[in-house]
Amino acid sequence: MFILNFLPSWFFPLLAVIALLLFLISRFISLPQAQLVYYLSIIIFALSLFMCGANFNNDYWLTKIKEVEIKLAQAEAQSAQENTKIVEKVVTRREIVRLQGNDIVKYIDREKLVIDENCKLPELVIDIHNKAIK
């Protein structure tokens, strides 16, 4: 509740006590305007009780929000930790794949003469390959 942001939590219990005291005073001590004080004290007491309940409800939800915020922060930290693990795994795997590719290319370079010796590549094969990569 908006109003609870500006008032301390002890305000409404104090108001309720004051209203109760006013009620008792108006009942047992003769005052000028006793009737007005009597009815006002009842209204103020009811209102302050309502606001005490609202304050309690507000505090309850604020606690819940704090709990959720903590859980979210934990989840974000765990997520960041797992992200690092995934990145490390991907980078390692990519490096292995590149090294394997380079090894094969080096092997092809070493065996270049043997590979090219008796084989002329038909243009059809290159066409098929180029079609397949599109």
């Binding site: 908006f2 992200n83 794949v97 590719g101 290319v105 270049k112 590979i115 090219d116 290159i126 180029n130």
Partner: protein, 86 residues
């Protein structure tokens, strides 16, 4: 006094907004790279050069496949983390 009571009741209806916003989890930048296009072979090249191009293309496929697997793992892990406390 009457106005104070009315004002109190009126203001008590103003609910404050809940100050929690859950951000969509940020994916690692490494996973955000696109797969490179495959290399085409020019006409009239030797078999050894042609095989090199094929090997390069396979290498690119494996790198892309690694990225894809990492995305799947990332998604499943994020889902597990963020659904844990619900």
């Amino acid at each position: 006094m009457k106005y104070i009571v009315l004002l109190t009741l009126a203001l008590s209806g103003c609910a404050s907004t809940v100050p929690i916003t859950q951000q969509f989890p940020e994916a690692p930048k490494t996973l955000l790279e696109h797969c490179k296009p495959l290399r085409a072979a020019p006409q009239g090249i030797e078999l050894s050069e042609f095989i090199k191009i094929v090997v390069d293309n396979y290498t690119e496929y494996h790198i892309c496949s690694t990225n894809n697997s990492a995305w799947i793992e990332w998604y499943q892990m994020q889902q597990r983390i963020f659904n844990k406390d619900k």
